[in-house]
Amino acid sequence: MTQLLFILSNPPGSSVYAQEAFDAALAGSAFSNIAMLFVAAGCLQLIEPRLETAAHQRKDFQRGFLALPDYDIQDIFCCAQSYKDHHLQTASLVVQPALLSQPEISALIERADSVLSF
């Protein structure tokens, strides 16, 4: 089956881009086998939102990550270096991604039939 790779590099909160990228990934899952790769500040999307929604203007779309298995999205990856740079900890995440080194990221991109960057 065709594999689409979604690369997500925008942080949540400061813009609606991350939320719209997630919408695109969900749409993609209806047509194809997809993988999600969080890189750079995009890895901050993985943190479980703590603020009450009323306290900021954005929707907490990250809780939707819990439904990814229902969309048959099993492949959730994060750049290991970004994960480390942003001091992410397992306990604070909505979903636990598989951490990939730079060569592993290159291989993932190489294997994908198509790559969509957000």
Binding site: L4, S15, Y17, E20, A24, A27, S114, V115, L116, F118
Partner: protein, 130 residues
């Protein structure tokens, strides 16, 4: 080669739409095919027909309309991005009971499925980020 373009940047706070325009022109001049141009995020703002820029400034909307008309391109906007940002065609304006529509001619509003379809059938998807 068959290309799809995914454009995401705002017309006024990024270079995304301009870079994509030049890329599309270069593609077409070299005999490649552009299956679809998909406007997402703030890039949908380029299709606002109510823009009235000064005459001595680049008019990105007109430039995309010209290119689209000349080469019969599918200039497709994400409906969810459009509705958030107030880009409405007649049917959406009617559906949401708005007093006017503002979709510039030459563009069409459709769904994310069009981006996914394009990425499945094209040789390359080129993203012009926000």
């Amino acid at each position: 080669m068959k290309f799809a373009l995914s454009i995401q940047g705002s017309p006024f706070t990024s270079n995304s739409l301009w870079s994509a325009l030049k890329f599309a022109q270069a593609c077409l001049n070299d005999g490649h095919h552009i299956h679809r141009v998909f406007f997402y995020h703030d890039a949908v703002l380029v299709a606002n027909a109510l823009q009235a820029p000064p005459q001595d400034e680049m008019h990105l909307t007109a430039a995309w309309q010209d290119l689209g008309q000349t080469h019969e391109l599918d200039l497709c906007l994400c409906v969810a991005s459009c509705l958030r940002r107030g880009i409405l065609d007649d049917s959406e304006a009617h559906r949401f009971e708005k007093t006017a529509s503002n979709l510039a001619p030459g563009f069409n509003i459709s769904g994310l499925g069009q981006l996914i379809e394009a990425s499945l059938v094209c040789d390359r998807v080129v993203t012009f980020g926000a």
